[in-house]
Amino acid sequence: MTDIAHASALDDARASDDANKPSLIGRTLIYCILVAASFVMLYPLLWMVSSSLKPENEIFSTTSLIPQNLTFDAYRRGWNGLSVSFGWMFFNSLMISVLVVIGNLISCSMAAYAFTRLQFKGRGFWFALMLGTMMMPQHAVLIPQYLMFLKFGWVNTILPLVIPKFFAIDAFFIFLMVQFFRGIPRDLDEAAVMDGAGPLRIFLKVILPLSTPVLATAAVFSFIWTWDDFFAPLIYLNDIEKYTAQLGLRTFVDATAQSDWGALLAMSTLTVLPIFILFVLFQRLLIEGIATTGMKR
């Protein structure tokens, strides 16, 4: 008796489950719509990649994504097209991005540690001030900043792009780390104090090793934002040998003379590649970051 009752209960459950799942037709329809939407979103990117493989005259003549004459000529032209090899610009971008990541990680983690674990006069005030700097638009401080770097003699070098990062100017990352450090139990600090550790040792041996998630997030975001940054390098880098990849791309588009679209698209594809790889490796991290902070830039 109980077996039958039990079996029929199971059947009911299964039936209702099937009823809640959309039918085969429904599911196929939904997937088709999603694929189509994805294709529409990705089209510009796919067009860029496919156009980089087309000869110049074919790029704007068809909307087809399949190149009729596959050629890598655009890549060759783009790489060697400027007075400086594009490889140099990649190298500049890479160097600046890596230095910025290092600077941010070191300085922002130390600032966050001070704000959360150390007691000093006016801590609340300085913390509020730091958060306030997040609301300053870059354009408002641009001119005073430029004048200052001009006085230092740093214009036309990478110093204005890199050195400030070693002084914890990215309030966003400080805030991110502050929130994370607040989640580390103070018990651990106290145990380390009983073990004779001073603040620096606690920071290096206890707090930092436990902070790899937030450090990874800060590193990835730092890299992506610096790699994609066009404005600051534009202002501070004048010589083409010092150009970053973003500046290099712009030189392919000239308002007066003929633009080499193929070369531009080829180099764009290469410029996007590191970001693409980073995204594939760290996508969970990045999506969480965008979802929680609402910031894409």
């Binding site: 139990p185 106290e190 145990a191 009983m194 073990d195 004779g196 040792r201």
Partner: protein, 359 residues
Amino acid sequence: MTTLALKKIEKRYGATEVIRGVDLNIQSGEFVVFVGPSGCGKSTLLRMIAGLEPISGGELRIDDQRMNHKAASERGIAMVFQSYALYPHMSVYKNMSFGLETAKMPKAEIDKRVRKAAEILQITQLLERKPKQLSGGQRQRVAIGRAIVRDPKIFLFDEPLSNLDAELRVQTRVEIAKLHADIGATMIYVTHDQVEAMTLADRIVVLRAGVIEQFGTPLEIYNKPANRFVAGFIGSPKMNFFDVVAARQQAGKTTLSLAGANVAVPEIETTEGAKLCLGVRPEHITTDAKGGVALGDMTATHVEHLGGQTIVYGRLADAQSIIVTLDGQKTVQAGDTIKVGTNPDYCHVFNTDGLRLCE
């Protein structure tokens, strides 16, 4: 072997006084338990001894040296935290060696100490594991091991058993007692559990609202509580407190009037007609008349059978509630009327301020 002295220790958070003038002298090798209700300041006191909280007033002396401003690690103290506070990213071995590495001890010496402590606590097979791979009891032992390797003069325990289940608690309690017997160091232990206090302590400090209510051996506190609070805090079920009136003083005996019955207790200093409080522990009340002091009739309202004991809750003739713990399994039911009595030695009398009156 180390002595610890607290002289008029005070602690203030802003305008709020949390510890008000605590004086304490702890002998070398003693196991002292700070016990009291939540918020009484026992953890704060412990943390001030450890050096994790600054001392607002008074003096802390270890081995007769002033320690108020000395850093925590220089006081020769090791602490076991309530949450164990193990470093999650380090192995058990590294957790235990961290303090010694900070002190720049030679590697060979560190290894020797860690392995010795691991052996004492039987965690040698766990040395390479991380804390998240350990059970609660094992983590607890690692936390104790971390304290042992530092070879401190004083061990501090902050409610170390509160995160363990009941069975493990009893087991670990025995182990801590054995540890004290083995190492013999001075140990200060904070708990809100009076059973832990009674079983582990050489002497107990009962705290309430930042003040020491009584400092004595477990049996002193049990047999001669200094005031009503201490009497009610130690002992489970709680001591019975009856409102009585001093009826008569004569010939070395004082008679108290309780619910119509006359209770004769050894002489106490009081005036006739004074309102007093008579305290008798549930386990000291009997249903036979052997004690010599009759407390009257009680009507049972609720009975608990524990197998080895029977706890009867009820009311006296004047509706004052009473709890009686009887040995063995008794056939008492709710609604029964029982004659209860006790022994004059087990009677505690307190005045309206809660102070003990008998000697």
